[in-house]
């Protein structure tokens, strides 16, 4: 199973999300309460020793559909040294297989920086999608 | 404040009584242009980055208030707090770009000349070390240039200008007085002299003009101490003998500089090794700290020794011996200008303990003393302001009372007079004395000979 899919998916979450967003503005506290009962599809952050933020919400299939990404290698890249290896993809390995918690000799990009760069940089370039901490690390 | 009225722009202006005829006459002569030009000239041309930093950095935190005797004595009325006084004067002048009213100036001169002793205590309480005393002196400078300085103190400045002494003492009167004291003192010490104009003496002794004018006994005492200690000393017969400097406190810097120059030139003419001065605080400030700067000396061109330090030297070197210590309980007032102004406070305690049997501290003390309320030219503004001067230093009275001492030592002329007023006004039943009084009373009247 792919790491971001380990948690169960609530199929109604998309509708609910909208409702909850409205509720957010209208009844902050009830909304917070409602939120805490909702399960969103999140990345597995168990490799982080003491995560400071809730793990990022990421709905893999919806995202790729919306972003019209077909090629896995757009995200699941393979590097050899500093060189990007074209036409190879890495969807069978974990991000943390290559990116450790702290930058090291083999890989100068730490795991969290890798995630941030991967997602935020693209969202900035495309001028779409979440770019602020709390837009991915949504409170549980 | 009960008598507060509001002006159109809502800044509080206290309705001022017309207290002082010279201020009123001066105000009547002013025109709006002159006010504006003078204020802007002083604030822009006569100040520098220091002024700018003080005005632009003050966080309006009010911490300086705790330092000021005026604030504390007036039941914490914010109008008397250091920064409050700056607000009522400098801030408004800056805000209005010098276009201030006659009423404003009447209040400003009152505040700057009589509600601040320029004692610099507040600079020790402001976390930024903002020099409020300097800002008040700037206001005085403006008032001087507008010719609205209070009558009595202006008269002393006029006297300085004409005679180089503060009290219109004529040259022959001065010499007469010294000779008369010399004659009297010879009844105690057969060969006592008050040597005039003795070139190359070790010490030039200098005093303030009120001594020959009202307190000639102090000259007598000083002469006996010098004689008993076997000091090679002299006093000048010419102008320059008076070390006081009231112009320093009215912002008349030009005359202040002339006074200091004449003083040092007199010492130079007599080729003395050093200058010893009587027990006066502001005169010390003038000759040690302020006057020298105005005439271009970073530090005084002569070693200037305050009486306190000189007594310390005489007592520790054994040139003066104490026959019997002073019996009554004493307390000591630290004059700002020689404690906060020169760090002589520990010496003052040593001297007091060498002279007196029982010494009681008043608190706060040393650098943190409260001013007597007379200093900085306040007492010199004279009778019109005496009543408020008593109210404005209630804390000193409370502080004195708490000691329960019988005698109050005040090694400074201004303090001495100011404290005498306080003692009477608040019925404190204390005797105010100079250190010289006590030395004279307790010393062995035997002439010092080296090796004995």
């Amino acid at each position: 199973m792919k790491p971001w899919k380990r948690k169960s998916i609530n199929r109604e979450s998309k509708m609910k999300q909208k409702v909850i967003f409205m509720g957010f503005i209208l009844f902050i506290f009830t909304a917070v309460y409602a939120f805490s009962n909702t399960e969103l599809e999140r990345l597995d952050n168990s490799v982080f020793e003491k995560p400071q933020r809730p793990s990022a919400v990421f709905e893999h299939d919806d995202h790729n559909e919306m972003a019209e990404i077909d090629d896995c290698a757009v995200c699941h890249h393979v590097y050899e040294g500093k060189e990007l290896v074209e036409d190879e993809s890495s969807e069978d390995s974990l991000c943390s297989d290559c990116h450790s918690l702290k930058p090291d000799q083999e890989n100068s990009i730490s795991l969290s920086v890798a995630y941030h760069k991967q997602c935020r940089d693209c969202h900035f370039e495309e001028n779409k999608g979440p770019v602020l901490c709390g837009e991915c690390h949504i409170k549980e | 404040m009960p008598n507060e009225i509001k002006t159109k722009d809502d800044s509080p202006v206290v309705k001022e009584r017309k207290t002082d005829e010279a201020v009123e006459a001066g105000l009547a002569r002013l025109t709006p242009e002159r006010i504006k030009n003078t204020i802007n000239q002083v604030l822009q041309k006569e100040t520098g980055p220091r002024f700018k930093a003080y005005v632009e950095t003050c966080m309006h935190c009010g911490l300086c208030a705790e330092a000021c005797l005026y604030f504390l004595s007036n039941d914490r009325d914010p109008a008397f707090s250091p920064a409050g006084k700056v607000k009522q004067t400098i801030w408004e002048m800056l805000e209005k770009k010098g276009e201030v009213s006659i009423d404003f100036l009447r209040r400003a001169v009152h505040i700057a000349q009589t509600q601040c002793n320029v004692c610099k205590r507040c600079s020790m309480y402001c976390p930024f070390g903002i020099d409020i005393a300097y800002l008040m002196l700037l206001v005085r400078r403006i008032c001087h240039k507008l010719e609205i300085t209070p009558l009595y103190i202006q008269d002393t400045v006029n006297s300085h200008s004409a005679t180089m002494n503060q009290m219109w003492v004529k040259e022959d009167e001065w010499i007469d007085t010294l000779q008369w004291q010399e004659e009297d003192a010879r009844e105690e010490f057969e060969n006592l002299r008050i040597p005039l104009d003795k070139e190359g003496a070790d010490v030039m002794y200098s005093v303030i003009a009120p001594e020959p004018k009202f307190q000639a006994g102090l000259l007598y005492q000083a002469a006996t101490i010098m004689h008993a200690a076997g000091i090679n000393w002299t006093m000048p017969s010419s102008p320059g003998w008076d070390n006081s400097n009231m112009a320093m406190f009215t912002g008349d810097n030009e005359i202040s500089g002339r006074i200091a120059r004449t003083f040092y030139e007199t010492a130079a003419r007599l080729k003395v090794k050093r200058i010893v001065m009587g027990e006066c605080g502001h005169a010390f400030r003038s000759t040690y700290d302020v006057g020298n700067r105005w005439i271009g000396w970073a530090m005084p061109p002569f070693e200037v020794v305050h009486a306190l330090e000189f007594y310390h030297e005489l007592l520790t070197s054994g040139r003066i011996k104490i026959a019997q210590k002073f019996k009554k309980t004493v307390t000591l007032h630290d004059p700002c200008n020689v404690s906060r102004g020169r760090g002589l406070h520990d010496m003052a305690r040593e001297v007091t303990n060498m002279l007196c049997e029982s010494f009681i501290e008043m608190t706060p003390n040393r650098e943190h003393n409260f001013c007597c309320g007379a200093g900085g030219g306040v007492i010199n503004c004279g009778p019109p302001y005496k009543g408020e001067r008593m109210v404005n230093n209630r804390v000193k009275a409370e502080q004195l009372k708490a000691t329960g001492a019988e005698v109050l030592i005040a090694p400074c002329h201004n303090c001495h007079s100011g404290l005498e007023d306080i003692v009477h006004h608040y019925d404190l039943n204390m005797e105010v004395k100079f250190l010289g009084d006590i030395i004279y009373e307790t010393m062995e009247k035997k002439i010092y000979k080296p090796g004995e």
Partner: protein, 219 residues
């Protein structure tokens, strides 16, 4: 919208920091030039020893008499000023941003702790405000400008706090946070917040006059 966020979290941060740092440097340079031109005599009194002596004395909590007479205010002010620097510098979110931009990072506060410290800063500012309203000698000196200054410091903390908790309007809150933070930085050299560098200078001068000429302490 992302482009705008990219601007305020990218180039604008640069601009804010440059103005903040260059502004402070410019301020010092202008003061020194002005001193040289108009008040160079103060150098005859300034000594390094007495300057540092006074500055350090005033940095020690409850050493100066003044701090002992207003212990509550000074304690709060002391903590406020420390946190003013510590919280933003050691905040995880800030470090993450710096790390992504420059590949440098340093130890971070735990987010929960940072959150509490942020509340403390805001409470300190509330205290300053109440004091301005309640204490007569402070009220007397206070004008609207003083409240505005307090507000300028408070805004980055309040918006940062609200954003962190994602209570409401998350995106606008972060935008408000970043902009208010930048405004605060930009204003430091040009407002009374410049006491950050001017205060050591005035203290050094007063410390020198007291130590060197007056042979007395100024604390």
């Amino acid at each position: 919208m992302n482009a705008f966020i990219d601007f305020i979290m990218g180039p604008m941060v640069w601009i804010a920091f440059l103005i903040f740092i260059l502004g402070l440097i410019l301020k010092i340079v202008l003061i020194i030039k002005d001193v040289n031109a108009r008040e160079s005599y103060i150098y005859s009194y300034m000594t390094l020893k007495h300057s540092l002596r006074s500055i350090f004395a005033w940095l020690i909590p409850f050493f100066p008499q003044s701090t002992r007479q207003s212990p509550v205010f000074y304690s709060i002010s002391y903590i406020f000023h420390l946190l003013l620097f510590i919280v933003p510098i050691f905040l995880t979110s800030h470090i993450v941003l710096v790390n992504e931009a420059f590949q440098v990072s340093w130890i971070a506060l735990d987010d929960g702790l940072a959150d509490i410290l942020t509340v403390m800063v805001v409470l300190a500012l509330v205290f300053f405000t109440i004091r301005r309203v309640m204490v007569p000698e402070v009220k007397y000196l206070t004008s609207t400008k003083d409240y505005i200054l307090i507000l300028i410091v408070a805004l980055p903390f309040i918006t940062g706090f609200l954003a962190y908790h994602q209570f409401f309007l998350y995106r606008p809150m972060v935008i408000a946070h970043v902009i208010s933070g930048e405004i605060m930085l930009i204003l430091i050299p040009f407002s009374r917040f410049s006491h950050m560098i001017v205060a050591p200078l005035t203290r050094a001068y007063m410390g020198s006059e007291f130590g060197n000429v007056r042979h007395a302490k100024d604390w």
